[in-house]
């Protein structure tokens, strides 16, 4: 294992610089890597530049003014209606760009790695979330991939409630050690306590 073969995640918003922060916790396990993605993985983390990002359905001038059923995101911005949320639901969407990195902070410069996530709702669940949708994200040549978080709830009318969730990741089907703590609310989505 002479090469730096551990992964770390870093994430930034599309307009920002890469944020390279990693937590090093020894947790080696065998992976089925290929190319530069091989050997062992030790730890991953998703970090985000605090104070940036987050697209409010209510504040964007060019988009819909709220996330209400039937509204048309004419410029392509997702709404709770287009996302298939329950009738009358509102919520929040947040776009981030993630990057797959080795533990030393260098990017995994390989396109076509399939990143996939699983999100499990935990407690508290003040938004009444009962279903989660996740997807697959192919990396680009610099190891990055976009990710759009969303929540839509009928309880989002003046509610300050939140819902917690745990997000876990795989790369090409192999699990990563680090999981992310998500907190969904009607006006923010934080990832490991960061972002809005």
């Amino acid at each position: 294992m002479g090469t730096a073969a551990e992964f770390a995640f870093a994430a930034s918003f599309a307009t920002g610089d890469w944020s390279r922060s990693s937590v090093k916790r020894p947790f080696p396990f065998t992976s089925r890597g290929r190319g530069r993605v091989r050997s062992a993985i030790q730890d991953t983390i998703l970090t985000h530049r605090s104070g940036q990002g987050g697209n409010s359905f209510r504040s964007m001038n060019t988009g819909p003014s709220s996330c209400e059923q039937g509204q048309d995101g004419s410029n392509g911005l997702p709404t709770c209606a287009t996302l298939g949320g329950p009738t009358g639901s509102r919520g929040w969407v947040r776009n981030v760009t993630n990057q797959l990195q080795y533990q030393d902070g260098s990017a995994v410069l390989q396109s076509g790695i399939t990143m996939a996530d699983t999100i499990t709702i935990s407690t508290p669940n003040g938004l009444g979330l009962s279903g989660t949708s996740t997807g697959s994200f192919p990396t680009t040549g610099d190891g990055s991939f976009p990710d759009t978080y969303f929540d839509c709830s009928k309880l989002c009318f003046g509610s300050s409630s939140t819902a917690s969730a745990v997000q876990s990741w795989t790369w090409n089907g192999t699990g990563l050690f680090h999981t992310n703590g998500l907190v969904y609310s009607c006006s923010s989505i934080t990832i490991d306590g960061k972002g809005k």
Binding site: G76, T82, G84, P86, T148
Partner: protein, 233 residues
Amino acid sequence: MLRTFFIVLVFVRLVSASCQPNLNATVQTFTFSGGSRVDAILELGKQTNICFGLRNLPRSAFVEPASFRLKNQTARLIIDKIFDGERVDIKQMPEGLVYVSRPSKVSSLFDYKIAEFDIGRATLQTTSLGLKNRLVLQFVPGTQGIAGSYYSGDQTDLIGPFQEYQKTITELLTLIVSASKGATWISAIPDSAAVLPRTENLWVVIEYNRSMRDYRSLTEQIARNFPASEEPK
């Protein structure tokens, strides 16, 4: 005035659909290696901008290596050659998409009808997610909220709006993919497994805006997750 505007809107929507290929047009060169038949179809789709719907394919189509070096063949003939030996039906839908499916006697969620698919203009991937969530909500009507994360894809590939009633999942996927700049939808599990209570990860939509090689690990994963009972006989 309003009527004229509406007609213009309808016209724009019709002409913006890019999956109206001439399958009899000659493809000068089609070369493919290092992947499966599904990967070959994705390459052909990107090269010729033919949209595909791939449903209930045998596992072999995802896992067995294939290679092609064809010159001066029609797209139709290339498609036939890619699936040569596979028991699949191939037909071009009125929307333009080429639909490839293995016959099945099992009624699956791909045949399930969505009561109302009323969705605004959005990216192809967002619309696909909206369809998934509508399917879930139709089975759990009392749901108060949903959440998640997803790949929103090509931000310039906007489709819709759509207002459809009592259409099956297959019909709606055909509709939205046909309206895109170019993409393929693939059922990620065979029909026999696409039954309740499972409603997650039924399909993927792959857009043609980047190299199809980037999706080979994804198609490999689909193959790995195919139920063993679906091995070709």
